[in-house]
Symmetry: C2
């Protein structure tokens, strides 16, 4: 098995190191990731600038390829330029902070896996539900299990798995739940501030969405201590709406 | 009616001017758009930098608000900070170049409309199928008609319309088709080049996807001279896949 690993916080982040080292136990791993942090970059790609690639060492050894682009760029370039063929899996993460609910629209970690799915490669995104004191061990261990399962069973074309892991010791993780994507909007407020020159600016922030008390939804199940696995598809047509639009006399 | 207008190529682009001036015939229009080009920025948002806002004049009059962020930032900030309430519609465009098929994952124009839909506001994205000699008149005219229809009939929660218009005179546009989103991947090749200092870099490029000969698909219908209207939803759960994952013994 050959796995392409990427991650939006970049090739020097702790999360991608934990993920790559873990997956190396079961597969050949090629790391292709942004050369600096690209958080909340969504599914951006770089069309208006050149893209630079350089080899990156970590702990004295070649770790992977640092790219002056986005996670989606990294997956495209990793497959087309570096590997020159499809890997068996694309795995993105492990993100610092959860990517449940509507986070998946903004997340570069999730976009890395989505790009893999668009290219027809089974793909998984992993995120850890904490910004402080992250313990990647449980998520990295689960990544091995899930990568094996996905490589055995496959995924529907254009569908990838979005995984969120509580930042808890193994004994306190309640189990794994197959979930749906939460739909409560996030990142909806702005903090107004003044810079040292007395000019006003804004900082986008967002309260965590109100948790629905349904264990079938990723946001709530994660909050309750479950690892969540959400299958995400790339068929964005609202098929139900098609018929009603037909009556609009456009 | 009050319409919030945004566009990823920025507040100085010709397309947003054509759109705003057209929509002013039927509504109050507030323009909030990036202060420079943000093409292919997808659904990125700005969480790690401050966001600046300034008033922008065009043709000697206040045209709107230029924002140091992405189209998704602009919609959030336009609604929460500038308008302080939901507009009746969010309209994004008119993009230079089509956003059919898998372009919708990468497009900032489409993300502007998606952000409106996530916030519960009926939203539309408009793109013109040309990079050269754009004639925005037909698209701008159709924007009036569709904005009126959407404001009368509404859209399902979390669904927006993605519209592509051929760059043709009215007499050669064959009509309007309600379409599904094409699924053929795009932007899959890299051009390898050398900079003036003999260092290698890559430029991401993409052939247009092979056109399926189905008028029900946006890519082909647009290619055949139709205006395409595709309803795009934000429920990314692959509901069919949920049951089969339940048998995986995770």
């Amino acid at each position: 098995m050959h796995i392409l690993v990427t991650y939006d916080d970049g090739i020097y982040a702790p999360g991608i190191y934990a993920l790559a080292q873990s997956l190396k136990k079961i597969a050949k791993v090629t790391v292709v990731a942004p050369d600096s942090e690209r958080s909340s970059v969504g599914h951006a790609i770089t069309l208006s600038h050149p893209i630079w690639v350089r080899k990156v060492n970590r702990k004295g050894r070649l770790f992977g390829y640092g790219v002056s682009g986005t996670p989606a760029d990294c997956v495209k370039l990793g497959v087309k330029v570096i590997l020159k063929k499809n890997p068996d899996l694309v795995v993105s993460g492990i993100n610092l902070g959860c990517n449940d609910g509507c986070s998946i629209f903004y997340s570069g970690t999730v976009a890395g896996a989505r790009e893999g799915a668009l290219m027809g490669i089974p793909s998984i995104a992993f995120s850890l539900d904490s910004f402080t004191n992250p313990a990647f061990a449980q998520a990295a261990k689960f990544a091995i299990r899930l990568a094996r399962l996905v490589s055995q069973k496959g995924l529907p074309k254009g569908t990838f798995l979005n995984v969120n892991v509580p930042n808890l010791p193994a004994s306190r993780i309640k189990g794994v739940r197959i979930t749906t994507q939460g739909k409560i909007p996030i990142h909806g407020t702005f903090s107004k501030r003044k810079d040292p020159h007395f000019r006003e600016y804004y900082w986008l922030r967002g309260k965590s969405p109100v948790k629905k008390r349904e264990l079938s939804v990723d946001t709530y199940a994660l909050n309750q201590g479950y690892i969540t696995v959400t299958p995400i598809h790339c068929d964005l047509t609202d098929h139900e709406c098609l018929a009603s639009l037909g009556n609009w006399r456009l």
